[in-house]
Point group: C2
Chain length 213, copies 2
């Protein structure tokens, strides 16, 4: 096998761990399985990571980062907020149903983190990421729909994450993507009732908007 610096090897191993765990579950992500997936002999893993836990933490960090970067910029602007929400929810749901293994792995990581002290930070970091992402989406949606939220976006973000999490879990169990999407869209129309249109330009002070739009 070809040699490479430890930093690069670490990335490769994290990728391999992500592949194994997404496909076969977090329990199947043994040191041996990850090494085999990466095409690397057993010792390499403990040469690059002190622990198996350190590898799992790196994997969790990677999956959290990956979820956060989702396309914020392809939300259409200049449309009614109901339409904007519907489009955003549709895109979000498509990206969820397209990565079933990763979604399931996220829940496995959450429960594992809550049980094992050595993974203590994982779940909290995951949720912080989801909340800030949801908040950013809400603010982008507000600007795109030219509305102001009646409830602080920080509070709303927690609702959104809870509802999306709940529907994702239900979908993983019953495999009924259409019913879940219908429910989510219903939640979207409810969200739309929590907005008021921004009429005058004088309202800009309420919700600070970067000049670069």
């Amino acid at each position: 096998m070809n040699r490479m610096p430890v930093a690069e090897r670490r990335e490769q191993l994290v990728e391999a761990a992500l592949a194994v765990a997404s496909r076969d579950g977090i329990e199947a992500a043994t040191v041996r399985a990850v090494a085999a997936e990466a095409g690397v002999s057993l010792g390499v893993v403990h040469y690059c990571f002190q622990d198996k836990d350190e590898l799992l933490r790196a994997m969790a960090h990677a999956i959290t980062e990956r979820n956060a970067v989702q396309g914020l910029d392809q939300i259409p602007a200049g449309l009614p907020v109901e339409t904007v929400l519907e489009a955003a929810i549709g895109a979000l749901w498509a990206s969820i149903t397209g990565t079933r293994g990763s979604q399931l792995l996220s829940y496995e990581l959450t429960t594992s983190s809550l049980r094992h002290p050595e993974l203590n930070q994982v779940a909290a970091e995951q949720y912080r990421g989801q909340w800030t992402t949801a908040q950013q989406v809400l603010e982008v949606v507000g600007r795109a729909g030219n509305v102001r939220w009646l409830v602080p976006t920080e509070e709303l973000a927690r609702v959104v994450v809870a509802v999306v999490d709940g529907y994702s879990l239900a979908w993983l169990v019953d495999d009924n993507a259409e019913a879940a999407l219908r429910g989510l869209q219903g939640f979207g129309t409810y969200l739309a009732t929590l907005t008021v249109p921004v009429e005058g330009l004088s309202d800009d002070a309420v919700l600070p908007v970067p000049a670069g739009a």
Copy 2:
């Protein structure tokens, strides 16, 4: 140790498994740990259960049954539906936050079931139970508040379960019970907007109500 018929021993072992898994996680519920918890030697477990999986299935069945029997009858009647919902949600949330280990175990069982074919039915059964329970609660609430639901309770039940699940998971992670309860009560006021008061007796045909009320 005192002897007992296998049926009774099975119940005791299921109880022990539930105790171990709730306290230390589903991975810690090994055959040895369950036997030790029950104060029984190793072989007894395989004398009462064919598999470890059969023991876990029995444990999952027990926890599902236990969640379903929650007090449906202590919902106050003759009050505005908003008040009824608030009371019901408060009671539900208290029973959730009072059993942290069991809640976490439920999520662990769900993910395990989705990964391992030998536990295939567990998650589905769990969700069927939750949905029907939620539907029953909704109908009781409707009768107690003297209102009719604008959306079929079967559909609404799925929403309720998703939202409660999502908030429970968030609470397990950030341990902020007050924020979660506030969010749930907000969801309750939204639910109240999906009802219309039952005015005339002629409306009884729409929503069949048993004579015994």
